[in-house]
């Protein structure tokens, strides 16, 4: 099995789209053992900007596996002019669930032009990991994620509203929200499930499923 350094080099030397995909996947799946090589993270982040969707998907998977150590490189090396790279970074941050990505996820759901980016952001907002936070910060993060998702209920694309329903369910299930937050979550889902408010059947269905699951859960 090749070392991390050799796999990084294979990505850098890749001469075709297919070779880049194969090399990126190999790097993404590499076993880092005890300590993660920062060069591997930098390399995967760089691939996000190459306009190669296959390789970018593999890099996102790899960055999600590396978890919180990938958050800073993702946030600091973002080129605001490279829309594609930003979109992939949002997906990676959504998958990692680190609260340091909160601001970027909020912004992406509210303003990104790509529905696939907004949908990833909506999902990510429901999956933020809060266990290690102080109670006050945890409350604040929950509040912001909830507000962002409630605003996302009026997105123009059905797939984003679908993802908002999924995000709201995840937020409600995993974050033990306060009774007032719980009520706002259920109200938002109610709006997504009503025929006169939500035109897309599959969104209504998903919102009803989320409502049901949250109501079965002990408040």
């Amino acid at each position: 099995m090749s070392t991390i350094a050799a796999r990084i080099e294979a990505v850098q030397q890749a001469a075709s789209a297919q070779a880049l995909f194969v090399a990126t996947r190999a790097l993404a799946e590499a076993d880092h053992g005890e300590s993660i090589d920062p060069a591997a993270i930098r390399c995967l982040v760089e691939v996000l900007g190459f306009n190669n969707p296959g390789a970018a998907v593999a890099a996102v998977d790899g960055l999600i596996r590396l978890g919180s150590s990938a958050v800073d490189p993702l946030l600091t090396s973002l080129d605001p002019r490279n829309y594609g790279a930003r979109a992939w970074a949002v997906r990676a941050l959504a998958g990692i669930g680190d609260v340091r990505g909160l601001e970027l996820l909020e912004e992406a759901l509210a303003t990104d032009v790509g529905p696939s980016v907004r949908r990833a952001a909506a999902c990510g907002l429901g999956q933020l990991q809060l266990a290690s936070l102080e109670a006050a910060e945890r409350h604040q993060v929950r509040e912001r994620a909830l507000s962002a998702l409630v605003a996302g209920c009026t997105d123009g694309e059905w797939v984003v509203r679908y993802a908002v329903a999924v995000g709201l369910e995840a937020l409600g299930r995993r974050m033990e929200p306060l009774p007032q937050q719980r009520q706002r979550t259920l109200t938002a889902l109610e709006a997504l499930s009503r025929l006169e408010l939500e035109p897309t059947p599959v969104v209504r269905l998903r919102a009803r499923l989320a409502q049901q699951r949250l109501q079965e859960q002990k408040p």
């Binding site: 032009v113 679908y162 999924v166 599959v202």
Partner: protein, 292 residues
């Protein structure tokens, strides 16, 4: 199956709502319904009409003037003049597409007439619109235009890579309209052996919608593994349009963008009621959640 396209193709610029597209007067700028109607009403600048027609369809305008103005635009067509920039024919094509989306049966007569237009692009747009309107009266016309089969209607033209008829759109329209009579099925069936996979996909989709016979799903499921991405995408959209529930697993496995798989899976939930295969909705929703 044609892929969803958020911006009208020949004028593809920033879509409505795209950031940084402030200012006024450019056809790609965000506009409102009043402005769209005004742009369609004038006839000095076809490029403004072109965008306005698309806008009214995209936003499902319910304004009482929308359909009459679109019908006017549809009648604007004339012999092609490639040097004329955005031609009136392009306006007519967008008007036909918009009329399909607005769902007003008052558009059927003019769309039917457009099925015999010499512009095959307009015939294509009209066929799709009539399919969306579920226009029963379009069935005999579509049958007539497809009757010569893959070696006639489906043959490649001598002057371009296009076929003599817009077969894909016409086959899909027959499936959407839903007249499942033997003569209709007999016109569609030969196209399942067409040399182009996209035409085979459209024919199988229509037959599966009309007959519910699983044999027509076999080809569609095989096309999900076709080496060309464009073909895999079309098969995804077609299985979604049919709502073919047994395709759930194959759709999830297909090598294509998650965005398209999500649209296909949405179809399994929303279009699947009339089939005997009733997977729990929850299984489809779970698969969709995993693709977000």
């Amino acid at each position: 199956m044609s892929l969803p396209s958020p911006v009208p193709a020949p004028l593809a610029g920033p879509g409505p709502g795209a950031p940084g597209s402030g200012g006024t007067g450019h056809p790609g700028d965000p506009i409102d319904e009043v402005e769209a109607l005004a742009r369609l009403r004038q006839s000095d600048d076809p490029s403004l009409q072109y965008y306005a027609a698309w806008w009214l369809g995209r936003h499902r305008s319910r304004h009482p003037e929308a359909v009459p103005l679109l019908l006017c635009a549809l009648r604007q067509r004339r012999p092609r003049d490639p040097g004329a920039g955005v031609e009136e024919n392009a306006v007519a094509r967008n008007a036909a597409r918009a009329l399909g989306k607005l769902g007003d049966p008052a558009a059927v007569d003019d769309l039917l007439a457009s099925l015999d237009d010499e512009d095959d692009g307009l015939r294509e747009a009209a066929a799709r619109a009539l399919g969306e309107l579920r226009a029963l009266r379009a069935v005999p016309v579509l049958q007539r235009r497809l009757a010569s089969g893959p070696s006639g209607a489906g043959a490649v033209r001598s002057d371009s890579p296009r076929l003599h008829e817009p077969c894909e759109a016409m086959l899909e329209a027959l499936g959407e309209i839903g007249v499942a009579e033997a003569p209709v099925l007999a016109v569609i069936e030969p196209f399942t052996a067409h040399e182009r996979p996209l035409i085979r996909s459209a024919a199988c989709r229509a037959l599966l919608q009309l007959s519910g016979e699983p044999c027509w799903a076999t080809e569609l499921l095989q096309l999900l593994e076709h080496p060309q991405l464009q073909v895999r995408r079309a098969a995804l959209m077609d299985l979604g349009a049919v709502g073919w529930r047994p395709a759930l697993e194959p759709i999830c496995r297909t090598l294509a963008e998650n965005s398209l798989k999500l649209i296909a899976l949405r179809g399994l939930v929303e279009n699947g009621e009339h089939h005997e295969f009733q997977t729990e909705h929850t299984a489809v929703l779970q698969a969709m959640d995993a693709l977000l």
